[in-house]
Amino acid sequence: MQAVLPGNGPTRVAMVEDDADTSASLAASIQAQDWLELVAAWRTGAEAMVALAAQAPDVLLVDLGLPDMSGLDIIRLVAARHKQCDILVISMFGDEANVLAALEAGASGYLLKGLLTRDVTADIRDLLAGGSPLSPVIARQVLKRLKAPASLDAPARPAAVGDATLSPRETEILNAISRGFSYAEVAEVLHITVATVHTHLKRIYGKLAVHSKTEAVFEAGRLGLLP
């Protein structure tokens, strides 16, 4: 967030992408913007892990399917060590499984590969403002995962999960997004600004990360695997 506004110097972007074409395409887009500065473009996870601390980028673009490791590991590491860094996943399809895993690992959003007619930097701007444009499927999955335990048969969740349940407003937003409404439409319907929608989404991503840590424990408890 810190580097979005002009006058703060360019936003430092680093990238981990093994596909040369994609890497080149992204690099070109980034370098074309003077508010963005591409500080590194790594080809492997190992390279990235070694050099990350030195570069300390503001934005990290990560491909999940790296040759030597899962991009999720890098996301986790960066989310834990470099909290100021926004992590964006480079995804071919924006499919639920990959994106949700990335969001849970600590990513803030995703970029779609091959959106040729749009400048990818617009996406980066959007993402920095508040996160990826959620696809309806992912919005629905987030809704499902973070909804308050209202059903009667659900045992009491661990207290920590209380931090990871959605507020009514967040639920409204996700519900609208899951039905295909754009952020602007959501903002209009709810009588809030688009920026507020972005803020809510940021918070939702945070809850998703918290939630993923307790969910495993909760699931085990629900299945009677824990006392």
Binding site: G65, A97, P136, V137, R179
Partner: protein, 653 residues
């Protein structure tokens, strides 16, 4: 029939005649002595062996002795208070000459003395010695002697009865009957049944019931009422002991020791049982009762005969009073909600009080001396109360077991359901996991395979920008691929998400076209048939409609809306534009309308087109549930059809 009636009549008349004949043969009068001449034996009361008393040399006083007339029965407690000694009774009777001498019997309803000896016409006929000493008992059995014919003769006969009695023990002489055995022995045997047989019967039953009750209690120690029932019943059994054994010989210490228990053993346990059954645990009354009982039991064998009588009177009075008080208390305070055994015990107590009052009245000389002892007749009620209690316990125990079994079965069933639900949950989770794995595999394939290739082609095309059509086709293929992947995503039956995905994928295209999109997708109920194929079908239909509107209609505004008709169980998705319109009849094939209709049929939906110069609308009407017999997925023929966009592109210029 007539013969049969005649036979019956004959049989009856013979029977009656026989009875009459019998009556005639034994027309000998029965002598009932309700008075006698009496004199006390002047000689000092002999002590020692009963045998000596019975058969030692003894002769009636002569006529010059101070005989006086006394009525029978003669209760010495009334007529000779405080006396202990030997008295003589003299009776005479006349046997008419025509009467036979044989078959005569002597009968006394109550053999109530230490010893009675009969002298008939100066001859020692018999003695109650053979029936022992009655002084310990609360009851006196009837006495009878068969008269040897040689003892009697025609005319006046003399009958002397020597009685050794203790006045305080209510001894003396009852009425005396003499007559044909056939008549005299009838009341004798009746009385024997009332006084002796019933006592044996009840005593034996009480002993068994008492042992049973105690055995029951022994298994279930918490059942205190059962314990006191048992002890009470055994107390009753003690009462019957003298009815079982002969009572020969002198009064030894053992006999003295059982005098009190035989009279009163039942009383204290019965009182306590009543208290406990009434739900009371009397902290003062119970110890007092036991102390009182113990005092009586100890005092009795240590006392002389006179004192014994006093003890019997005192203890009887106290127990009777206590029983009456307890009964009144029980009925007054514990009537509500009591069981059958409670009422049986009440009945037993009432009967016990009445019969004991009768016996007590006789003891005190208020009632006829010859009345039989009746107290033991309340025992059956006590036994019934015990039995009902035991049965009640059993029934309750069986009920409890049955109930426990039912509860256990219910719990097992519940557990089974839980386990099944758990298992179902696990299985569903497993299925979901398997689906997710499969999805990831397909995704990976697409990432690494077709997707990657397409992307590569795309980047090449970017360089060779002179191939815009190829680029568009590849982009469409990419879109198609993404839609296919979207169809694999879990949407949980939410049509809104399906529609939202179409818009998500179409976003760029729509934004680039400059068309205003009115997105009016409301809350729609979840539907249960959204398999990937159904999702893909719906997405393609909507995509087709949007693409047509964008590409051919030259529309300024496109509206996408959902309407739910809950009553009809239908959901309508409407895609409407304000473009130039077309004639569905002529351009049907060209715009992929046939394949749209086929896809709609495949998921049990219908498609309606309306198009004129002011615009075009496509209405896709879907069922809310899949249970109307329609296939829920596309059949192979439909899926084999070429993809929408590809077929459409073929037709485009």
């Amino acid at each position: 029939m007539i013969v049969r009636i005649a036979v019956i009549a004959l049989w009856l008349s013979l029977g009656l005649g026989g009875a009459a004949a019998q009556q005639g043969r034994h027309a000998t009068p029965v002598f009932e002595f309700d008075s006698a001449e009496f004199v006390m034996d002047p000689s000092p009361s002999p002590e020692g062996n009963l045998s000596d008393l019975a058969f030692g040399p003894s002769y009636p006083p002569g006529p010059d002795a101070p005989w006086r007339h006394v009525p029978l029965p003669d209760d010495w407690f009334i007529s000779h208070p405080g006396v202990s000694g030997i008295g003589w009774y003299h009776m005479t009777f006349d046997i008419p000459s025509e009467e036979p001498y044989v078959g005569q019997s002597f009968y006394m309803p109550r053999g109530s003395s230490r010893l009675s000896t009969l002298f008939v016409n100066g001859v020692l006929a018999t003695s109650t010695y053979i029936q022992g000493d009655a002084r310990a008992m609360n009851w006196d059995e009837p006495m009878r002697f068969s008269m040897a014919p040689t003892l009697l003769h025609r005319g006046q006969n003399d009958l002397y009865i020597r009685v050794s009695a203790v006045a305080d023990l209510r001894q003396g002489l009852s009425r005396v009957y003499l007559g044909p055995s056939g008549k005299v022995l009838v009341p004798y045997f009746r009385r024997w049944v009332v006084v002796v047989d019933s006592l044996r019967l009840f005593g034996g039953a009480a002993a068994i019931a008492g042992i049973l009750a105690l055995a029951f209690w022994f298994r279930i120690r918490t059942d205190k009422v059962m314990f006191w029932f048992g002890v009470t019943a055994l107390g009753w059994a003690l009462m019957a002991i003298p009815a079982f054994g002969p009572r020969y010989g002198n009064q030894g210490w053992l006999a003295q020791a059982v005098v009190f228990p035989m009279r009163f053993a039942y009383a204290a346990p019965l009182l306590v049982a009543c208290l406990r059954l009434g739900g009371a645990r009397a902290r003062i009354a119970e110890p007092l009762l036991w102390a009182f009982t113990l005092a009586g039991a100890v005092a009795m064998p240590l006392s002389g005969e006179e004192t014994q009588a006093l003890i019997i009177t005192t203890w009887s009075t106290v127990y009777l009073t206590a029983l009456i008080v307890l009964l009144v208390w029980l009925i007054a305070t514990r009537v509500q909600g009591r069981t059958l055994s409670f009422w049986l015990l009440i009945a037993a107590t009432v009967v016990a009080i009445v019969l004991n009052l009768h016996d007590y009245g006789r003891w005190m000389g208020w009632l006829d001396y010859d009345n039989p002892t009746l107290a033991h007749f309340h025992v059956p009620f006590v036994l019934a109360a015990i039995g009902v209690t035991i049965i009640g316990h059993q029934v309750r125990a069986i009920d409890a077991v049955a109930r426990a079994n039912r509860e256990l079965e219910a719990r097992i069933a519940e557990k089974t359901r839980e386990i099944e639900a758990s298992f179902q949950h696990l299985r569903e989770a497993e299925n979901e996991r398997a689906l997710a794995v499969e999805r990831r595999r397909i995704m990976a394939d697409m990432h690494d395979g077709i997707g990657g290739s397409l992307l590569g082609v795309l980047s090449m095309i970017r360089v060779h920008a002179e191939w815009p059509r190829i680029e568009r086709r590849v982009r469409e293929a990419m879109l198609e691929l993404r839609m296919a992947i979207d169809s694999l995503e879990p949407v949980d039956g939410d049509l809104g998400v399906v529609l939202g995905n179409v818009r998500h994928r179409m976003r760029e295209t729509i934004e680039e076209s400059g068309v205003r999109l009115l997105w009016r997708v409301g809350e729609v109920p979840t539907v249960d048939y959204l398999t990937p194929r159904a999702i893909l079908a719906i997405q393609r239909i909507v995509l087709e409609a949007l693409t047509n509107a964008l590409r051919h209609a030259r529309a300024g505004t496109i509206e996408v809306r959902t309407d739910v008709d809950a009553a009809e169980g239908r959901l309508r998705i409407l895609v409407r534009d304000d473009g130039t319109g077309f004639d569905p009849a002529t351009v049907r094939r060209g715009r992929g309308l046939d394949s749209v209709a086929a896809r709609a049929r495949g998921i049990g939906a219908t498609v309606e087109y309306a198009s004129d110069h002011s615009g075009t609308s496509l209405a896709l009407t879907l069922p809310l549930t899949a249970d109307d017999g329609q296939p829920t997925t596309l059949d192979s023929r439909v899926t084999a059809a070429s993809p929408v966009i590809a077929s459409e592109a073929k037709q485009s210029p």
